[in-house]
Symmetry: C2
Subunit: 479 residues, 2 copies
Amino acid sequence: MAQDKKQVEQITDMEVDFAKWFTDVCKKAELIDYSSIKGMFIYRPYGYAIWENIQHILDAEFKKTGHENVYLPMLIPESLLQKEKDHVEGFAPECAWVTCGGADKLEERYCIRPTSETLFCEHYANIIHSWRDLPKLYNQWCSVLRWEKTSRPFLRHREFLWQEGHTMHATAEEAVAETEQMLNIYADFMENVLAMPVVKGRKTDKEKFSGAEATYTVECMMHDKKALQGGTSHYFGDGFARAFGITFTGKDNQPHFPHQTSWGVSTRMIGGIIMTHGDNNGLVLPPRVAPIQVVIIPVAQHKPGVLEANAAVMDRLVKAGFRVKMDASEQSPGWKFAEYEMKGVPLRLELGPKDLEKNQCVLVRRDSGEKVFVSLDGIEQTVAGTLDAIHDGLYAKARKNLEENTYPAYSLAEAKAIQEEKGGFIKTMWCGDLECELKMKEEAGMSSRCIPFEQEHLSDVCPICGKPAKHMIYWGVAY
Amino acid sequence: MAQDKKQVEQITDMEVDFAKWFTDVCKKAELIDYSSIKGMFIYRPYGYAIWENIQHILDAEFKKTGHENVYLPMLIPESLLQKEKDHVEGFAPECAWVTCGGADKLEERYCIRPTSETLFCEHYANIIHSWRDLPKLYNQWCSVLRWEKTSRPFLRHREFLWQEGHTMHATAEEAVAETEQMLNIYADFMENVLAMPVVKGRKTDKEKFSGAEATYTVECMMHDKKALQGGTSHYFGDGFARAFGITFTGKDNQPHFPHQTSWGVSTRMIGGIIMTHGDNNGLVLPPRVAPIQVVIIPVAQHKPGVLEANAAVMDRLVKAGFRVKMDASEQSPGWKFAEYEMKGVPLRLELGPKDLEKNQCVLVRRDSGEKVFVSLDGIEQTVAGTLDAIHDGLYAKARKNLEENTYPAYSLAEAKAIQEEKGGFIKTMWCGDLECELKMKEEAGMSSRCIPFEQEHLSDVCPICGKPAKHMIYWGVAY
């Protein structure tokens, strides 16, 4: 029988092969599938539903802070992309180019957007005239293309889903404040919704976005102690405005260049969720974005009254606003347990005839495996409390991972040794020179993650060159 | 002053130049802007917000009927597009082709999806194995590209936003039922939400979707009596499944081909809203998708207590679930009235010191211009009732337009004369032959709109060739 084939298969242990464990989870939890084009993935219903929940929550935050959604074309004429020199240098090498429309060869090549700064600037030049037109606070939900050589589910796609905010302001101060506001929205979202602790900071000039004056970032630590950039927020000054001829008449009746920001997060975050919370039984989803928060599994469902009682509990939980699924299929309880563990459903609720007699049910936490009998009275409050406890537990565990694997180092050799022996984030002082940054990369294999907002004084000098230090900086091996 | 430039400018009267009136409304109501690529438009915040409301309501209907959202790649390898012969003939002439990735020329060309049947089939071949895997009920929200020669805001874009449902079923009956269910969801949505009456029916073989066995459609009549196809639902039989080698093991343990459907609506519907309800003062939005349902305009807002009272009314309406904007800017009331008329806000609420004394406010309907004084007590119920009345009024007016401009004809000459003199839908009997359909197009300039589900018997013979008639059919000039 075909059914027999559908087993919950074992996945590779993360201690054996972390990369294989990761792709196993993506595939077996039915988050993603491969297409016939290398590096272009299919977001399957369960994976896409996580993204929909992320969108829903973030979109509300964006709107609360006055942003409006727009949709701009997906194609950028080559001449438009070239208007800002740093930007085109950064992106042109990984553009996909459209050269034919129907049977006709195009007069000019168009690239599929790798990001939309140039398109927004062209539009802003048309609609910004007076200080009364500012600020413009736009956001776009879309997919972008980057023709990468290597690929990996969620972490590196040739096409991926994201949001890109693009804003224009009358003053530099306002634009900087916007950049900070959006970084904080990302940080709060990642911590309070995805249960992923972050390090907030500024990127070095080497690591900043092509064309930006400053890039701010939230950096996360994965289970294998590697770094994942969770989201970025860029301050552009008036560089693009000058390149695109965007000016406004100020209150002083004089022309001025507006100041610009952009900021984005993508489906990479889902990769981050997997590698922060997952375990050897599969996915572990933070409750606030889980497509299914509670799975209800009837025990001895053929016995009279059992299915009805389970359905009644489901109704109560749905009414209370939870995302609930009841699985009354013919699969064995063991199969079901493994299936929803693989899918990372935060909470399993079991209810059988004996429980019914006692007006109770069983709750099993995905994160800890903890199993408790609880009364059906006030089950809504019990479930709410347990989901919050799971969130808190996941966050605390990830925070512990981050803190226990962040080490100070006082020489390049020491930094290198720690990375090789233990992995994690290494914090050192830094003189600010590109040369030292390159040396750390070359000799210790680490890139700079960020100059954290929360600075510490580890010593007076850069451990790489011995010159006076300007900042404390985080280093790591990144996805 | 820059402010002085921002006037609510006059738009062309629709009786003078309907096409110009339409583009004026799109531009002046700030729904859309042009980009530097011909035929690729920018959906501005106000236009995009209408689409978001459409998405929100339809997505809930799709989910209620068991559909799941997915996201598939935007690129289709040329060899994949070619697998189903009718399909590639229909779409290849209007594909945009990607031929370079980064600096490399690609070994095979990829087209940007004009529609995603081929991609879904490739995916379904990977994930459908047993009758237990069926049905698959997937939907995708995305943009598609069709390299059209001519373009027009909302009606014909080279890139437009839409949803495309793609489903697979064990039996033909189930697939046909799905096609009908989705057509009914579209029809109900258009009538109950967009206030646009529809004619439901089947497309002729000439007008059906490339590769489909049958295409069902909802057809609407615009203000200028031309037809707009509102949404379509296609039944594919097992043609694609055979072409793509998709089989499943049935309960009989034998291999079978599944039966397929697809269905979609797009941002064209926004063009339909404009041309169904708009007038010479601009846009008129049906309340259930209007981004702003009620605009509150304080009168004599400098007087003590006025702004506070207006804000209090706004709070009450927002709490009651309405989409409300208060405009307390320094613009004159006259400017504001014209601005929100242009933007088609269904209801204007004015509240000044004299109203306050009487515990009342003024409500002005956008559709009829009717102005009434109403008590602030129970303003929530009054607004709800008025918005419903506006919806009903818009629908009745559009229904009248449709009915009064649908004419039976009993000869080709008569059909031609009616279309030339009056426009509208012409209903005739039809033998079912392509030749007669082509003759109607050539001689009377009309395409077949649909073979309506609600048939009438006008005569026994096809008025074009005199042979026995098979159906009653609707003809019209279409967008």
